[in-house]
């Protein structure tokens, strides 16, 4: 894991119980800016798809005149993907089904607010 | 090797116009472009400097119509002739099915013609290609200039055409010789497709 402005934010998120991976992704390109992953995880794949999803969610919220999207959650059989963004950056977290999603959500929204 | 699609019955061949700087390679393509109807040609791509010297290549796609039931398309390229564009010349030459060597008939350009001809053979050899196996036609351009400034096709043949390939005098700016050159290289390239593969 490289030392970047996002290292401590990602480390704090990954310390949350049930969080398997955390990433900062460029929303426009879908490219990883920084990540905190377990060995064997494909961060690039998650980044590209999650950024695309978040972007669509953000545009949907705007189209529905609901204001700025603050948090997105995708629930699947074996876990969740959560995303919160600011400007062109998106925080993405991959978590277990049993993870404390409420706490993760609070931490992500706080962290996203600190993104440049 | 020419690209042949048996399913769609299409043949595509790449012809490269090679030669020293300002010999008339681009002029050949411009003349061809000017003669061919709109529906039989694509856009001519010219990657050139601000002074209209070829920087990378000129490209002209031509639809030659149906030959033996195959729609036949030719891609005509030129290379930059100036010496310091050696690297880009090599890149453009890759995959060529036939070469037209455009020589400048001016007597003072003889050295440049010879160097460029040697450069062609060296680049083919570098790609692992036997130059004798590549269809080649030589065009002696600028035959319209005053007699005291140019060499005759016979004199140029002595200097360049040691392989005895088809050669044509030309005035690419006004047209004479351009069509004949293209026809000759087309024949040579397509002849390879009319032979059984060994």
């Amino acid at each position: 894991m490289s030392n970047s402005p996002f290292t401590s934010v990602l480390a704090a998120l990954t310390r949350q119980r049930g969080v398997r991976a955390s990433l900062v992704v460029d929303e426009n390109d879908g490219i990883v800016v920084d990540s905190n992953l377990q060995i064997g995880q494909d961060g690039d794949r998650v980044a590209a798809l999650a950024a695309s999803l978040y972007r669509k969610a953000r545009l949907s919220a705007r189209a529905a005149q609901l204001g700025t999207a603050t948090f997105m959650q995708l629930e699947a059989e074996r876990g969740r993907i959560c995303a919160a963004g600011r400007n062109d950056l998106v925080l993405v977290v991959v978590a277990d089904p049993a993870a404390n999603i409420g706490m993760i959500r609070v931490e992500m929204i706080k962290a996203a607010g600190g993104l440049p | 090797m020419s690209l042949v699609n048996y399913a769609t019955r299409e043949i595509t061949c790449k012809i490269v116009y090679y030669g020293p700087g300002r010999s008339g390679k681009t002029t050949n393509l411009h003349y061809i472009y000017g003669q061919v109807p709109e529906d039989r040609k694509g856009k001519m791509v010219s990657l050139a400097t601000q002074t209209d010297r070829t920087l990378f290549f000129d490209f002209l796609p031509l639809d030659l119509g149906t030959i033996s039931g195959f729609t036949t398309k030719f891609q005509l390229y030129t290379v930059p002739g100036q010496v310091y564009y050696q690297t880009t010349r090599k890149l453009v030459l890759q995959g060529a099915d036939g070469v037209v060597f455009v020589a400048d008939s001016q007597a003072r350009q003889l050295e440049e013609n010879i160097e460029s001809f040697q450069d062609l053979h060296a680049n083919l050899a570098e790609q692992g290609i036997d130059a004798r196996a590549v269809p080649l036609v030589i065009q002696y351009n600028k035959q319209d200039l005053p007699r005291d400034l140019i060499l005759t096709p016979a004199e140029l043949n002595d200097a360049l055409n040691f392989r005895g390939v088809p050669e044509f005098g030309a005035d690419a700016l006004h047209g004479p010789g351009v069509f004949e050159t293209l026809r000759s290289i087309s024949e040579l390239v397509l002849k390879r497709l009319s032979q059984p593969v060994k």
Binding site: V25, D26, N28, D29, G30, I31, D44, R45, A47, A48, L49, A51, S52, R55 | L3, N5, A7, T8, I11, T12, K14, Q35, V36, P37, K41, G42, K43, V45, L47, F56, F57, F59, P61, L62, D63, L64, G65, T66, I67, S68, F70, Q75, Y77, T87, T88, L91, Q94, G95, A96, F179, L182, R183, S186, E187, L190, L193, S194, Q195, P196, V197
Partner: protein, 157 residues
Amino acid sequence: MSITAVEPWVEIPLRKFVEEARTVLGLLLHPSGQVVAQFGFARAVDVMSACALAAAIHASAGELGKQLEGKPFRGLHHPGRDRQLYLAEAATPRGTFIFLTVFDQESSLGLVRLYFDEFCKSLAAAAPPAPRRVEPVIEERFEQELNRNLAALFGRG
């Protein structure tokens, strides 16, 4: 989205790429500049021009890489105002191809790269062995047709 393929075996992998990556234009070509498949283009002759340019870009980038760090560059990305371009090599048992695609805001570089990797794998898996042709492609006496077509092309018919 209509796909035109010179080699039929590329069509399924290419269609999957187009559907998943949601790009706008695409070209699969030989490094010499000859088209293998395309989608999104209106005219065949426009495809040929685009192929020539793509082959030139690829050849230049490869050569530049060799000269700078000893290894050819393999992928290229050009961000544009409304559209972006991605160009990369795809290796198959039938040789190396170049793939060029143009995408807009419906996709992203990350998605294009992701699905391009999958496209390369499915292309390599789909490639049949090269056919061994022994018979000639065109008739021995093709010159008459060639001369007639060239004469028509040059208005000498």
